[in-house]
């Protein structure tokens, strides 16, 4: 087997086993638990009164804004990881300052983005 992928065999096994165990316990619970279903019990909870309106009504746009910001910053921080794990090797090669300034420019751009959304008021929630 390809040694590069070997560490992921346990991941696959754990994934399958966790799913199977969950399903098995749920099935067991289904057998052990009572089954007395009637209308009121099956309805969605709304403090005891009948539900009004659609649950998937409009949500604040801020949540979507957060999702966008997350994409921006999280994907950028993913780029920093390879650099981070290789920084010591750069040092060994004598490229320490170069690597530092490279990443400083990258993170400076990112910080500019953060300052921009901050000044724009995209982070205001109150």
């Amino acid at each position: 087997m390809d040694s590069y992928l070997t560490p992921y065999i346990p991941v696959l096994i754990l994934l399958l086993l966790a799913g199977v165990m969950c399903a098995a316990i749920s099935v067991l619970a289904g057998y052990l638990g009572p089954k007395r279903i009637f209308g009121v019990k099956e309805s969605a909870f709304e403090c005891g009164s009948p539900t009004t309106g659609e649950p998937n009504a409009r949500h604040s746009v801020k949540f979507y804004l957060v999702a966008l910001l997350f994409i921006v910053f999280d994907v950028e921080s993913v780029f920093i990881y390879p650099w981070g794990s290789l920084l010591r090797d750069f040092h060994a090669e004598g490229l320490g300052w170069f690597a530092y300034l490279e990443m400083l420019s990258f993170m400076g751009t990112l910080a500019l983005g953060l300052v921009y959304v901050w000044r724009k008021g995209a982070l205001e929630w109150s």
């Binding site: 901050w118 008021g121 109150s126």
Partner: protein, 334 residues
Amino acid sequence: MAENVTTQRQTPGAIGAYVKNVRDTAKSFWEGMSVTLSYMFRKPITTQYPDRVPVPVRDTIPPRYRGFLEVDMDICTACQACERACPIAVINIDILKGDGKITPKLRMERFDIDIGKLRFVPDPLVPAVPYKPPKGSDAFPRRALGEITRALIAAWDAPPPPFPSKEQLEGDSGAAHGKPKPAGLDPTAMGRQLAAKALQVKEDKPKLAKVFEEAMAGTDCGDCGYADCKGYSEGLASGKDFSPEKCAPGGADSKAMLETILVSLKSGKVPEAPAAEAPPPAETKAPAAEAPPPAEAKAPAAEAPPPAEVPAPGTDAEAPPPATPEPGDRGPLR
């Protein structure tokens, strides 16, 4: 936690506020966590009721505690005087007239005290309703105040009784099934019986008074204005009183019966069973319900106190204390 930065401009003031927020956060963590940790290392103040308290529960009641709500079921005549006297309607008594036999004696079905409404305001040593001993006894077996409650609490402290065996359970339920269910009284039929009796002893006033008394609830509650049932019945028999509706515990049934007697005494004959008052079903039902012969049923019913329907387990488990009536302490019922 982090307060909102009021301005977005990166002026020194804004930076100062920013740093202050961070400092406040750290400080509140520090203070709050030191407080909670210090509580973790102290002894819990809650009492683990009931098995890890240092003294038995019965000893934790303060000696001057006045919140005792006691009903001595053995001496209660279900006169409902306490229910009527209660200003905030805390007491709820359901009564059933008769116990399946020809007697207007009241039987208690329910005696509830709504503790939620209770205010514990009146001094329990000053009774709201004067207690009069039941007929035929000049003293009454009143227990000392708080005794029933203390007995109950002692029963809680005691280990629970063993589970009943299967045979016991079956035996009990069989006995309960075998018992005839007591039915209500048929006032019309009984009124006519009493009226017939009254006509026979029309001239003998004491005997006539006894007949009148039969129609009353017999609780000696004093609601009619007379001292007891005897006084009211004597008043009716001697012709000094003509109102049949004064017996409050007896209610409509007593009123109907007394009315029947009074009418028949006036007219000289027992009124025929009117269709409106006593429909045929009541007539046919009456013999079935009144199956035991009146003569032998009446004797125990008159003497035995009404059976307590909801006896507290503690009072049963504990042997009732010897009835030592204290002459000076016969006032309060509760």
